[in-house]
């Protein structure tokens, strides 16, 4: 699939960066052989951000942290919160490009603040869950606002999720909603998976929105992956050969045993998936009629009616 929206060279790019700041998984990632610590990753991300801003003078940026139990904008930040980063303003290097300095300060200060304040609610939470759904929702709202203000359609947004955490099944519906609204607005969601198991949700996100899913083989080379894969804008992507996904798992997990099924039974009211026939839907409590379902399902008898034998079904 090619990009459905026409993109041209002289358009400004809005990059919304969602960074997983979950300290628990970062600790695991740092401890693993050949791993990457959060400090190292953050400094490499800052280089990447600066490179993005340096590519074109009107390139835009937003950074959202997907933390344990909270998601928060790191950049841009509003006036009410500027004092946080002003405190940080110890280095005043006149040789540094002003925008870089502001961005770097805000992102670092925001990340430090998040990590400082985490200790309160940890015990109540599943430690591996970051708030990916919340961060994606905020990203979509922010993009929506900028696109609304942009008359000439010059802004071409994209989302890059830098993630380590595994999927959180609780967020499934919310993440899917984000994916579909991104697909509707033709916003690619790129996923950079630094460490840990594959995330099926984000894999589907990249596939559905026509983005890039990349699992790092060597986390130490994080910056190189960022620069070579995720820096090119949407215009350049049409001419580059970027890593793709060999296989996307579109099978579903049943609600009853969390088993991956390739043939399942779906409730016609709430579309819950089951791996075996049930008298009643466990999600919406609808009782199912005995009438129609033929479990062994010979050829042609699926729903108890003639399956379009009279009106041939065409795709």
């Amino acid at each position: 699939m090619k990009d459905t929206v026409s993109v041209s060279e002289d358009e400004s790019n809005l990059l919304v960066l969602i960074i997983d700041t979950n300290p628990f998984v970062w600790a695991k990632a740092a401890a693993s052989p050949g791993g990457l610590s959060f400090d190292q990753a953050l400094s490499q991300i800052l280089v990447f951000i600066n490179a993005h801003l340096a590519l074109k003078h009107d390139n835009r940026l937003a950074v959202i942290a997907s933390h344990v139990g909270v998601s928060k904008f790191l950049y841009p930040i509003t006036e009410a919160n500027t004092h946080l980063s002003e405190e940080m303003d110890s280095t005043n290097d006149s040789n540094m490009y002003q925008t870089f300095r502001v961005v770097n300060q805000h992102v670092t200060a925001g990340a430090i603040n998040l990590l400082k304040n985490v200790d309160t609610q940890i015990t109540t939470l599943d430690q591996s869950n970051s708030m990916d759904a919340g961060a994606l929702s905020m990203a979509m709202c922010y993009i929506n606002r900028l696109l609304r203000a942009d008359d000439g359609n010059h802004i071409k947004p994209r989302i890059l999720v830098i993630t380590l955490s595994s999927d959180s099944p609780l967020q499934y519906v919310a993440i899917m909603n984000c994916i579909f609204s991104a697909q509707k607005a033709s916003i690619p969601i790129d996923v950079c998976k630094i460490f840990g198991d594959e995330t099926v949700f984000l894999q589907q996100a990249a596939h559905i929105t026509n983005g890039i899913y990349l699992k790092l083989e060597k986390p130490k080379g994080f910056l190189q992956y960022l620069m070579l894969t995720f820096l090119p804008d949407r215009y350049l992507r049409t001419t580059l050969c970027l890593p793709g996904q060999d296989q996307v798992d579109f099978r579903a997990a049943c609600f009853c045993h969390k088993k991956i099924v390739d043939i399942g039974y779906v409730c016609s009211v709430c579309l819950s998936i089951f791996c075996e026939i049930m008298p009643q839907c466990s999600t919406c409590r609808t009782s199912f009629g005995q009438s129609s379902l033929m479990p062994t399902g010979g050829l042609g008898i699926v729903n108890g009616v003639q399956p379009y034998s009279i009106t041939p079904y065409t795709i």
Binding site: G69, E79, C141, N144, F180, F250, I263, G264, S268, S291
Partner: protein
């Protein structure tokens, strides 16, 4: 009209109310009366208020969870008689209808991914099936874009069109809804028989007919008549969200579905659906035949094939985001929109206290997480995103919300299904509420 039963004539009550008010042309609005200068002599606040009201109108709807017929089967009947060439709607009735129908089909499949649509055209006293019931939006749009298919001629036949649609819809499985949407420009119809017999038949087969009239109302079914171009689109798009389940005939069932895997092969194989040779495709998990596109039904073994994102696309109908409430100035403490960082107006000083009720604070609050949002985000969240960023960004509330999202619908639906009679009346109430709002 009195002998029509509710399934066909869902708007009947609302319509009776309308008649008591008077004819549409007797009731006119003097929009200039509402325009009044505020204390500063400016019109800005009142204009803003009207714009905001318009924005919010669409989504202040019933968000209570009701059972919805998510698996829909719909025939769109398009009138292709000569009157469609009238230019009272710009650029012409026909062109506007066609372009709106295209948008309708796209939006319909976006919100009802595993539903199906077919198109019927009627001209010269006959009805003709343009496309069969199918789940692929591009088929229909391509058919509509073909100029040959949309030549106008003679008079339409409503009865023939309805009969043709009915002849296909009666084979639809009982768990799917059966609907016909008629876009009718003509004031007359050229029918072979009494059309009331057809309508009775439709009622018996529980097929729901919605009509959008481009000219004036004709005493057959009640329906919406378009006032102008924008209203046409509104009427049409009202039909997109899946209908609440009302009829007792609707059976809930477990449907056997397959989740095919996508494969890419080195050697081409013949696909089951078109008979063309392809390299890639989806494999039916039961018979291993190759299918080009999802969602569809395996042409060999008849298994319904979907991918899990298709199912997930419908979930937001089941777990809607609650309506946000406007925040009064007294509690407008936030400085920016939670999700898009738009800076809000600051609280006006006491000097201009008089105009406080005039301008809204521009903040809208989610009742679950108490975060404030701007109006654009409010609209976006309810119309497109279907997620509350605030609820998802806070650990405690998000936990509650997600847990409740799986338990609330079950409890409410459970109430509805306790007995057939209560189920019915509740569903009807929900419909009534929707009509009133």
């Amino acid at each position: 009209m009195a002998n029509l039963n509710p399934p066909v004539d869902i708007d009947d009550e609302a319509h009776v109310n309308d008649q008591q008010v008077g004819y549409a042309w007797e009731d006119y609005k003097r929009s200039w009366d509402e325009l009044q200068e505020d204390a500063d002599g400016s019109l800005k606040s009142i204009v803003e208020k009207q714009i905001n009201r318009g924005k919010r109108k669409r989504h202040l709807r019933d968000t209570s969870t009701i059972q919805r017929g998510i698996l829909r089967h719909m025939f769109i009947v398009i009138d292709l008689s000569e009157v469609m060439l009238e230019k009272d709607l710009r650029p012409s009735r026909l062109e506007l209808t066609l372009s709106y129908t295209e948008q309708f089909i796209q939006e319909y499949f976006d919100q009802n991914p595993i539903s199906q649509v077919g198109i019927i055209v009627t001209k010269d006293g006959i009805a003709q099936k343009l496309t069969e019931l199918s789940g692929n939006p591009m088929d229909h749009i391509r058919a509509l874009q073909n100029k040959k298919n949309t030549e106008t001629e003679g008079e339409p036949s409503l009865q023939n069109a309805l009969d043709l649609a009915r002849s296909t819809l009666i084979y639809v499985p009982a768990h799917g809804s059966r609907e016909i949407l008629v876009i009718f420009g003509s004031l007359s119809t050229c029918d072979p028989d009494n059309i009331y017999n057809t309508i009775d038949q439709l009622v018996k087969d529980s097929i729901r007919v919605s009509v959008v009239g481009l000219a004036a109302e004709v005493q057959i079914c009640t329906y919406g008549v378009v006032l102008n171009e924008v209203h046409f689109k509104e009427l049409l798009f009202e039909i997109i969200p899946p209908p609440a389940i009302t009829s007792a005939q609707y059976k809930s069932e477990l449907i056997m579905m397959g989740f095919p895997t996508h494969v890419t092969r080195k050697t081409p194989t013949q696909c089951m659906c078109h008979g063309k040779s392809t390299l890639g495709g989806y494999l039916c998990p039961r018979c291993q035949s190759t299918i080009c596109e999802l969602p569809s039904e395996c042409d060999l073994c008849g298994l319904t094939l979907v991918s899990s994102p298709h199912l997930a696309r419908s979930y937001h109908h089941l777990f809607p985001v609650g309506n946000f409430v406007e925040v009064p100035w007294s509690s407008a403490s936030s400085t920016e929109c939670f999700s898009c960082l738009l800076t809000f107006l600051s609280i006006p000083s006491t000097r201009s206290n008089q105009q406080l009720p005039e301008i809204s604070s521009g903040r809208y609050k989610c009742l679950e997480c108490n975060n404030h949002f701007c109006i654009d985000c409010d609209v976006f969240i309810h119309d497109v995103l279907h997620n509350c960023p605030g609820c998802l960004s806070k650990s405690e509330s998000s936990k509650n919300k997600l847990v409740s999202s799986s338990s609330t619908p079950s409890s409410s639906i459970q109430q509805q299904t306790n007995g057939d009679s209560s189920h019915n009346s509740k569903g009807k109430n929900a419909i009534k509420n929707r009509n009133e709002s």
